[in-house]
Every structure is written in structure tokens, then in C-alpha cells.
């Protein structure tokens, strides 16, 4: 993991990208996080998290085809990289270990 720690919101964002049917873009990600956590999420926060995740190499993005319904504007489509997947698994493993310790008490 080293310096590439994930903040809580980054983790949620990464999970959302993975959970949704690829390829995904900003709007569904925001909606998914909001629906799963029940708290209001701004697009600014989502973009910032996606940017940081991309800087760290956990997601990658490419511009999709422009569609008429969006006024001809292209979407940026995100996908979780293998490194991102590995980090998610690491986090989950660490959490699972801890939960098991809690439950075995």
C-alpha cells in the first residue's frame, strides 16, 4: 500500500466504479454513492476523487463517443485498473481480519 493510501471517499468512489456496469461516467457514480450511503454527494467531490484515483493509478479513463442526448458532449468513461482492484482487495482483507477478531471475542 505504501504512500498510495485511500481516503474513505476515494474508497467509496473506487467501489462504485467497480460495482457499476463498465464503462461508467461521473453521473452514475455520484448517484450510486448517494444511493448506497444515503448522504448528499457533490459532483465536485466525485471529480476530485476520480482525479486522485487516476493519479494513483487505480482507475483509468478514456473519452467515449459523443451522444446526441448530451448535446454532443463526450463522456469520460472510467474503469478500475488491476492495481486498483488489488488495493480494494487489500482493504477488504484487512477489514475482514478485524471483523473476525471482533466477532470471535
Amino acid at each position: 500500500m505504501k504512500g498510495d493510501r485511500l481516503g474513505e471517499f476515494e474508497e467509496l468512489t473506487l467501489l462504485a466504479v467497480k460495482a457499476l456496469e463498465p464503462p461508467v461516467y461521473g453521473v452514475p457514480i455520484q448517484e450510486f454513492i448517494e444511493a448506497s450511503t444515503g448522504r448528499d454527494v457533490t459532483m465536485g467531490a466525485v471529480y476530485a476523487a476520480l482525479d486522485r484515483l487516476e493519479d494513483k493509478g487505480f482507475v483509468r479513463s478514456e473519452f467515449g463517443e459523443s451522444t446526441a442526448e448530451r448535446g454532443g458532449k463526450a463522456k469520460r468513461l472510467f474503469e478500475v485498473t488491476p492495481a486498483g482492484m488489488r488495493t480494494l482487495r487489500d482493504i477488504r482483507a484487512a477489514r475482514d481480519r478485524m471483523w473476525r477478531a471482533i466477532e470471535e471475542r
Binding site: G26, V27, M43, A48
Partner: protein
């Protein structure tokens, strides 16, 4: 994006535009729009809008919230959005911390901005808005010229002749009158009405907001007159009632049908404070004022002419064409949108209220100086950490602009709330639209910002100056004194005291004048007098009026309350007296002239001091005799006996048909009375027998208050002649109206003076509190060395009040030097009235001493040991 698609709130769109999104703008914008629509469908407009706003805001804040390399380019972008946001937040935090002083200061500034906004609204309505017709640049006044004079008035015939003969201008005539408007029980007095020629509205391109405007078809004699009312009058006085069109109302007793309401922006080619409330056709004027008949062979109707230049014709060509069509010379003058004299008056009003604003700014400056002195440590720390000086100044100016804007919002609210009351107080004519427009709003924003920035610049310069190290090392504010802000503070306090004293002295003078006016010795009791006048059709012979008056006199005398009656061309306080200039020993003397019956003197209670009065016989023959008042005798003959002397008129010998005074012999001297106007109360009077051209009125003296006999008298004279219209008036009515002048001035200067005093007191309190806290160390040492509380108090109060006394001196000097300017508005009061001066001074000294005493006593109560331990 289709045009019909729902659009997110505009604030959000603006914020989004401000965000620095670079290449990704297209993507982000369409994402947000998609979300907006989805939310709109699911949760409704409010929710979607709110979320859009917070999304846009989050994007805006993103680019500086994200950590990055330290920016070195702060100097190149002086007004960065994020820095400003931070400054504003910091400023708000600081303001909240010192809520007490801040709110007092802001309130003071708000009041001052409010007063300025009200004054500016009035100035704006009176002299800054362009005249209320489309294409004002082609409007000309049409004047008659003779070799010696320029004349604004034309006879109606001359106008008709001119209109038929010229083609390069379209001339229109108008005649101003005052009227009483009544409709369904509500009455508006002294309303400005204009009688205008038939094509007036077409020529000046007026439009109707309701109903129709006047046309040539209305401009004919006979029938019930029709009227158009102004939009302002309709909205303000008639509540914008649409059913007013077609209604029959009464205008000075005559029935008039309202046919329409003019458009809001159309007020006619007149100066705005002369914008009429009602327009009527000129040919119909005698339907309302039967003594005015434009078609009579010798008409008393004189009209003014104003026209529009036809497009493409030059002023010179139009002028020579008009001159050839008129019996006299003609001059065309462009009606400029803003008259210079009005601008000068407006400028002086703004100068006075601006002075009050300056006082309020002085308070803000003082507050900020105190603030920066206390914050030297904070500022020094920021400088040491690498902030540039300009960055610090920006921070401080942001703070003071916040104060200014805060005060501006409150001030504008104050102005909007108090504007209607101010208009009532100043008796602003009903035709004027005074509601604030973009100029007024712009004015308050600019004034608040400028006030904030000006107030903030001086202290911030002071704040960033000086040596870092000492400031950093200091543990508190003690000893951080520099001579400069102390001097600035004293000057500001002195200025406040000076302005307050000037305004308060004027307020005291005007109140005294208003009170004095009521208790003035008139020589008779105005409350016991009333007058009755008659107006007959213009073609009625003069004998009919004489006969009517004689019959009225007989009837009125039989009434139980009536003591005496007499006839006079100018009944008491009729406001239409003739000033006459007489010459005696080469001097010019102003006297007032009245023409009366013989019984007038007895009626008024005037007594003979030498000689005799003129007799009924002499009045009937219009004998060349005169009676003068003691004052007139003193003015012209000094100690000599004037009886038997003749009079000489000074200056040009005037209108034809006027009595030749050179033949008139003085037969008697009578006691002085003040029966004309208060402002001319000190002039002498000359009485002559009634002359042929006079339209005298019946003067009635009653045993008790004349108002209680009003109905009886009115009834007694109402049925004497079916054609006559009766004018009944109480002498005290006009007197009250005249006293309104000083009363209004007293209220205005009093309000401004109290505001100035309040500002000065708040300022003094704040400064003294600050200075005392700065000098606590010194005070403690003095007390430790044996000074008593009394000594300390004397020291602190003396130091604080010194600039006040300097200011008081300067203010009094200004009043003494400039008092003559207002002398004409003061009846029977010298502009150097000692009582007024003493009252104003006493109030000021008491208030400022109080403001100083409270914080100073706090210093004395401090335990010196406690303070000294901290140093």
C-alpha cells in the same frame, strides 16, 4: 440543449462559468445538466436547483482546495476568488467578535447612507431625470422678445396665430394652475394642474397607461371638461384604481370627467418638480376657473408656449420663421434636461448630507484604526510568514468594504421605508415619481463601497507600516502608539463636533423661529379672522361684484358671532400682497400696499396714532388719500410728520391703470400689524382706498374662534348669487402653512443634527474606550505613585475633550459667519440668537462628556497592581 428544456438556476450557471474547468468544461456541464434533469423529475425543482448550486459551488472551490505546490504568483493575480472568499470569511469572524462596537458603527454608517439615499432619491427625481417626454432633445421653449426683455407669456390669440403660421416647429400652449381635487370624500389640496392645447399629447408623443389622452376634439369650449391624470398621481393618491377612467371628480368645485392616465414615463416637457398631476384642455379653462377666459377680448389668460422642432429643421430656421409669424420677436430655447440652478441646489443638499456620511466614515476609520493597532501582532506575523504588504492591505480593505456593504444594505432599507414620510414632510407635489430607480440603487452601492474603502485605506496603511520585530515582540497593544493615528483621530473627532454643532444650532434656530411665529405679536388675533371672496363669470360687470359684496356684508353682520366686517384687496395672510417700492430722499424703501374700505381698520383693530383714517365717502370716490403704518412713517420720514406729504414710486412706473402715487396725500398714521406674510412682517404698510380694478374680499372678525363660525358664514353668503363661486378662508390657515417652512427646516436640520450628534457620541465613546485601554499601564503607574481617581479622570477627560472643544469653536465660527444665508427663513429671530447657540452647545458638551466619562471611569476602577503585573 433545446430551448424548452428546464434550465438550472442562473446563479448556479454563473458559478459554474467561474469555475476553472479547462478542457473538461463540456463534460462537466453536460454531467451536471443530466443530474439536474434527473433530480427535477424525481424530487422537483427546488431540490434539483439546490443540488445544482452545491455541485457548481463544489467545482468552484475544488481548484483551490486541492493541495498543490505553494503558489508564488499571488502578486500577479491581485483579486483571486479564493483569497477574497477567505478574506471575507475572516472579516466576518472578526466582525462577529466585536459585535457591540461594530453594530453601533454599522448602524451609524447605515443611517448616514440612508439619509444620503433619501436625499439622492429626491435630487434624482427633481433634477437628474431627463424631462418626461420622448426625444427631449428637440423640445424648445418659445419666448417672445422685445428690444428690452424676454417674455415667457403669450396671449391665447397670439399663440393660435403662431400655431397656424409656423411649420418648422409644432408649438403647444400650457397654463399652470393650482387646484383642489376631491373624489369620494378624499381631498388633495394645491394640486398642480396644466391646461394644455389640444394636440399637446400628440406633439410630445405621450402614451396612455389607461383610457385615452386629450385630443383636439376635447379642446373646445363648453360641455363638461375632461382630464388626463399623471401616472404618479394615479398610483400614489388614487391607489392605481383602474375604475378611475370615466369617473367624474371635482376639481376646485367643478365636475370633471377623467378620461385617461398618462404613461408612467410621460410627465410633459416641464421641469420634473413641476410635473402636473392633472392635464385639461386649455379651451375649457373657464369651465373650472370662470374668471379665466382665453377667448375674452381682453383676456387675463397668458399661456406659455413650448414646442417640438420638426425633424430636419434647424433651430435658427425655426426661430426666424416663428419671428415672422409673431407680432414681436421670438426666441427659441432648447429645454435642457438638467437646469444648472437646480443642479447647484441639489449639489448643496448633497454636500450637507455628504458631510453626515463623512462623519459616519470617520467613525468606521476610528474603529478600524483601533482594530489595526490591536492587530499589529497578527499583521506582523503574517508579514513575517511571507505575506506581501499589498496582501495585508487587501485583507483590511476587504474588512472595511464588508462593513460598508453591510451598512449599505441596512441604509437602503431605511431609505426605502422613510422616503414616503420624507416626501409628505417636504410636501413633494403629487405629480413626481420618487420611487428609487437604477440610479438610486447604484448610488447606494457606490456610496457604501466608497465609504468602506475610504474608511479602510488610512488604517490599513497605518497597519502595515513600521518595524516587524518590535511588533512581534510585544505581548499586547501597550505602547504601540504612533503619533500619526492619534492626530488623525483627534482631527476626526474635531470634525464631528464641528459638523454637529453647526447642524444643531440651525435646528435650534429654526425651531425657535417656528415657535416664535406662533406667538408673534400680529397686532390682532389671526384665529378670529376669516375672509370671503367671490368669483363671478368673466363677463360680469364690476358693479355686480360690488353689489354682491355689499349684500354679503349686510348678511354676515347679522350673524351672532360676527363683530365687525370690512373689505380689503388683500385680507390677512392672503399671500398675494403687493410689495411696492417708494423713493424718499433718494432712498428706495419697500412697503406693502393694501387697498381697503374705511371699516377695514376698525375690523382689524388698527388704531390711529396721528391724523385720521379715510372715510367711506373718500373710498367711494377713490380719493387720492393714503394711510401709512407707523413703521412706514419711521422708515421714510424718521421723526418728521408725514401728514400731508405725497409719495413717489421708485423704479419704472409700471402697469397702466395703476394709481399714480404722486398725487396721493397722506392723511394719517396707524399702528403696525403683521397681516401679510411672516417673512415680510417687519415691512411698513401703506393703505389706499379700494381701486376700480380690485377684486376685494370681505374680512370678518368673530368674537371667538373663526373656525367655529365657518359653517354659519358660508351658509349666509352661499345663496346670494347663483353664478358666484365662494372662496372662504380662515386667516390662520395660511399662517399655519407659512409656518410649515421653518418647521420643516427645523425637522430636517434637527434630524440631521441629532444623527450627527449620535455619530459623534458613538465615535467619542469608541475612541475613549480604546485610548483608555491603551493607557491602562500609564494610568496604573500614576495611581501607584499616588494619583487619585479624580486626577486620573480629569486627565483622561481633558485629553479626550480637547479636540471636541476645538471642533466646537470651529463650528460656532462657521455658524456666525454663515448664519446670514438662512436669515430669510427665520422670522423675528436673529441668526446669531444666543439661546439657540447655548442650547446646541449645552447638548453637545453634555453628550460628548457622557460619552467620555463612562469609559474613563472604567479605567479608574481598575486595580493598578493587576495591570502592572501584566506589563
Amino acid at each position: 440543449m433545446s430551448a424548452s428544456a428546464p434550465r438550472p438556476p442562473w446563479i448556479g450557471r454563473v458559478l459554474l462559468r467561474l469555475a476553472r474547468l479547462g478542457k473538461r468544461r463540456g463534460e462537466v456541464e453536460s454531467d451536471l445538466l443530466e443530474l439536474y434533469r434527473a433530480r427535477l423529475e424525481l424530487r422537483g425543482r427546488g431540490y434539483a436547483g439546490r443540488r445544482f448550486l452545491s455541485d457548481a459551488n463544489s467545482l468552484l472551490l475544488n481548484d483551490w482546495r486541492r493541495p498543490g505546490p505553494i503558489r508564488r504568483d499571488a502578486g500577479r493575480h491581485p483579486w483571486r476568488w479564493d483569497e477574497m472568499l477567505r478574506d471575507i470569511r475572516f472579516a466576518l469572524r472578526l466582525l462577529r467578535r466585536e459585535a457591540g462596537v461594530v453594530s453601533m458603527t454599522v448602524l451609524g454608517l447605515a443611517l448616514a447612507i440612508g439619509v444620503n439615499t433619501v436625499a439622492f432619491s429626491l435630487v434624482n427625481a427633481m433634477s437628474l431625470r431627463p424631462i418626461g417626454v420622448p426625444e427631449p432633445a428637440s423640445i424648445v421653449r418659445v419666448l417672445q422678445t422685445t428690444p428690452n426683455s424676454v417674455n415667457t407669456s403669450w396671449t391665447y390669440r397670439e399663440f393660435l396665430q403662431l400655431r397656424d403660421r409656423v411649420h418648422l416647429i409644432r408649438p403647444e400652449a400650457w397654463l399652470p394652475e393650482g387646484a383642489t381635487f376631491s373624489d369620494a370624500g378624499s381631498t388633495v389640496e394645491s394640486l398642480q394642474v396644466r391646461f394644455v392645447s389640444g394636440t399637446f399629447f400628440q406633439t410630445f408623443q405621450g402614451a396612455a397607461a389607461a383610457g385615452r389622452l386629450l385630443t383636439s376634439a376635447d379642446d373646445v369650449r363648453g360641455g363638461m371638461p375632461v382630464a388626463v391624470i399623471s401616472h404618479a398621481f394615479w398610483k400614489v393618491r388614487l391607489g392605481g384604481d383602474p375604475s378611475v377612467v370615466g369617473r367624474v371628480v371635482s376639481l376646485s368645485g367643478a365636475a370633471v370627467t377623467i378620461v385617461g392616465v398618462a404613461e408612467r414615463t410621460f410627465t410633459g416637457p416641464f421641469a420634473l418638480d413641476q410635473a402636473p398631476a392633472v392635464w385639461l384642455p386649455l379651451a375649457n379653462v373657464n369651465a373650472i376657473y370662470d374668471y379665466l377666459d382665453p377667448f375674452a377680448p381682453v383676456s387675463r389668460v397668458s399661456v406659455s408656449v413650448v414646442g417640438r422642432l420638426q425633424s430636419g429643421s434647424s433651430l435658427m430656421a425655426a426661430q426666424s420663421e416663428a419671428a415672422s409669424a409673431s407680432p414681436t420677436g421670438v426666441r427659441l430655447e432648447l429645454v435642457s434636461a438638467v437646469s444648472p440652478s437646480r443642479l447647484a441646489m441639489s449639489a448643496s443638499i448633497m454636500a450637507i448630507v455628504g458631510l453626515v456620511l463623512l462623519l459616519a466614515c470617520a467613525n468606521v476609520t476610528n474603529l478600524l484604526i483601533a482594530g489595526t493597532t490591536l492587530r499589529r501582532q497578527e499583521i506582523a506575523a503574517r508579514l513575517a510568514l511571507g505575506a506581501t504588504r499589498s496582501r495585508i492591505v487587501r485583507q483590511l480593505v476587504t474588512e472595511s468594504s464588508m462593513l460598508g456593504l453591510l451598512a449599505g444594505v441596512v441604509g437602503l432599507a431605511i431609505a426605502i421605508v422613510t422616503l414616503p414620510a420624507t416626501c409628505r414632510l417636504l410636501q413633494v407635489p403629487a405629480g413626481i415619481e420618487i420611487s428609487p430607480d437604477w440610479r438610486v440603487y447604484g448610488f447606494s452601492v457606490v456610496v457604501s463601497l466608497v465609504a468602506g474603502i475610504v474608511a479602510g485605506l488610512a488604517p490599513s496603511r497605518h497597519g502595515v507600516r513600521g518595524d516587524l520585530l518590535t511588533s512581534l515582540k510585544m505581548s499586547g497593544g501597550h505602547g504601540a502608539k504612533s503619533a500619526h493615528p492619534a492626530r488623525l483621530r483627534s482631527a476626526l473627532v474635531g470634525l464631528q463636533a464641528a459638523v454637529s454643532v453647526v447642524l444643531l444650532v440651525f435646528a435650534a434656530l429654526f425651531s425657535r423661529a417656528a415657535m416664535q411665529g406662533v406667538s408673534l405679536d400680529f397686532g390682532f388675533n389671526p384665529a378670529h379672522f376669516a375672509s370671503v371672496g367671490f368669483s363671478l363669470p368673466a363677463d360680469a360687470p364690476a358693479t355686480r361684484l360690488q353689489d354682491l359684496l355689499a349684500r354679503a356684508e349686510v348678511r354676515v353682520r347679522t350673524l351672532p358671532q360676527v363683530q365687525r366686517t370690512g373689505l380689503a384687496a388683500f385680507p390677512p395672510f392672503s399671500s398675494a400682497w403687493d410689495p411696492t417700492w417708494l423713493r424718499r430722499d433718494g432712498r428706495r424703501i419697500t412697503v406693502l400696499q393694501n387697498r381697503t374700505s374705511a371699516s377695514y381698520f376698525e375690523t382689524l383693530g388698527v388704531t390711529v396714532s396721528s391724523g385720521r383714517l379715510y372715510t367711506n365717502g373718500e373710498v367711494a370716490q377713490q380719493a387720492p388719500v393714503a394711510v401709512i403704518s407707523e413703521r412706514a412713517a419711521r422708515d421714510m420720514w424718521g421723526s418728521e410728520n408725514p401728514i400731508g406729504s405725497t409719495l413717489e414710486r421708485a423704479g419704472r412706473t409700471s402697469r397702466p391703470g395703476l394709481l399714480n402715487l404722486a398725487d396721493v396725500h397722506i392723511v394719517g398714521v396707524v399702528s403696525d400689524v403683521v397681516a401679510s406674510r411672516l417673512s415680510e412682517g417687519q415691512a411698513g404698510t401703506i393703505y389706499l382706498p379700494l381701486q376700480p380694478g380690485d377684486v376685494p374680499e370681505l374680512v370678518v372678525r368673530t368674537a371667538a374662534d373663526a373656525a367655529s363660525s365657518a359653517t354659519l358664514i358660508r351658509e349666509a353668503v352661499s345663496s346670494l348669487d347663483p353664478d358666484a363661486r365662494v372662496k372662504f378662508r380662515l386667516a390662520s390657515d395660511n399662517l399655519t402653512r407659512e409656518l410649515d417652512g421653518p418647521r420643516i427646516l427645523a425637522t430636517l436640520t434637527g434630524t440631521l443634527g441629532l444623527l450627527a450628534l449620535g455619530l459623534a457620541v458613538v465615535g467619542m465613546f469608541g475612541i475613549t474606550a480604546f485610548v483608555v485601554s491603551q493607557r491602562l499601564g500609564e494610568v496604573s503607574i500614576r495611581m501607584a505613585l499616588g494619583a487619585s481617581g479624580q486626577d486620573i479622570l480629569r486627565l483622561l477627560i481633558g485629553d479626550s475633550l480637547r479636540p471636541v472643544f476645538v471642533g466646537l469653536g470651529a463650528g460656532l465660527f462657521t455658524v456666525l459667519a454663515g448664519g446670514q444665508l438662512v436669515a430669510s427663513a427665520l422670522y423675528g429671530i436673529s441668526p446669531r440668537d444666543p439661546w439657540a447657540m447655548m442650547t446646541a452647545l449645552a447638548v453637545l458638551i453634555a453628550a460628548t462628556t457622557g460619552a467620555v466619562l463612562i469609559p474613563a471611569r472604567r479605567a479608574v476602577r481598575v486595580d493598578p497592581a493587576c495591570v502592572l503585573r501584566q506589563i
